[in-house]
Symmetry: C2
Subunit: 210 residues, 2 copies
């Protein structure tokens, strides 16, 4: 049985949860308790030495240790429905927007949270190495996250999906980034009407309720 | 004619240059002078509003504005030789390692350079918005870049390529990251014998001389 090592409260494993749901891939889920540091345990390190979730154990010989691997594998192994695009042009647009949702959305929110929260002292970056918080990076992350909302709202003004006029991994990453921004007290409101409309439409998908 | 908007001295356009060369895609090149800020000009903004290189103009209707788009498009349009992998397992491993080479290699070097160099004041991030330098981020970038060399050396101890026992985009990103680290005075030396061996082998490829 395929096993997803997950954490219900964390943004990155949610990307894998939604991807798996959209593909209809049957799997079991194991929760890893990030708050107690279970990802750093010897038991979990033996599964994923990067000490991060999501981790997808496909079988005894194949363990996927990040969302990049999980998306590439699932798209190739379960082509329907396509989430990375079909034509060269669609693949390019989806890859580009997914990358931007990660760099311009998820990362700034994570920077603001991890460099500002007392609960995350020395955990400014995920993974096995501790890094001290940088307060200026928390501030920059917040500023960039606000700009991300503005940019995404403008981008969605004449679009129903983030990329290539179809639901894709770029929508998944964007939904997760927008929802994750709650942790730094950012929520889409009436200043962002296109973002609100798109998020409401995404909310109709069962996968996005996960 | 396909046109690559390039900058001979910058790491990210080099990734596209190598990718195009490995695929044998005939194209013309236009140099954008990042030192004088040509990427911010109205003329270039009209081509790529993100104000970054590489930018690949395929035709009047298709302009690819980042490496994610360029790699996805070229792989789909020019499948041979594959640079993103063929089997689901290889695609996963290559996507994962490419992502790690970008996040753990290119990004820390860029953080160290952009947050430390007097010539890059207020240019702590690429793109149309100015962000102030954060000296602590320059220090963290240097520490992470050193760790990247160590990690990559250990990874290559029993490998000839970064991922999936074949030349791939993960090698391209790694070569560019390792070479780029010169700007923060990091070079592979005898402390990193596996990294040195791999880099020497990559240097035999005409594409990696670009």
């Amino acid at each position: 049985m395929i096993t997803l090592y997950d954490c219900a409260t964390a943004p990155n494993p949610r990307r894998a949860r939604i991807f798996l749901a959209e593909k209809g891939v049957v799997h079991e889920t194991v929760q890893i308790d990030l708050r107690s540091g279970e990802q750093m345990s010897e038991a979990f390190r033996a599964i994923n030495p990067h000490c991060t979730v999501p981790t997808l154990r496909v079988d005894a010989t194949l363990v996927l240790t990040d969302n990049a691997a999980i998306a590439a594998y699932l798209e190739a192994q379960y082509p329907q429905p396509p989430l990375l695009g079909n034509s060269p042009n669609d693949k390019a647009e989806i890859a580009s927007l997914n990358w931007r949702m990660e760099f311009d959305g998820l990362m700034p929110v994570a920077e603001a949270l991890r460099n500002g929260s007392p609960a995350m002292a020395d955990r400014a970056l995920p993974g096995p190495v501790n890094y001290a918080q940088i307060p200026e990076l928390a501030q920059r992350g917040l500023a960039r996250a606000q700009r991300f909302f503005e940019t995404l709202d403008a981008h969605l003004a004449d679009r129903s999906f983030v990329a290539a006029e179809q639901f894709s991994v770029a929508d998944i990453t964007a939904v997760v980034a927008v929802d994750f921004a709650r942790v730094i007290k950012l929520k889409p409101d009436e200043r962002y009407p296109h973002l609100l409309r798109w998020r409401a439409a995404m909310g109709e998908r069962p996968s996005c309720k996960l």
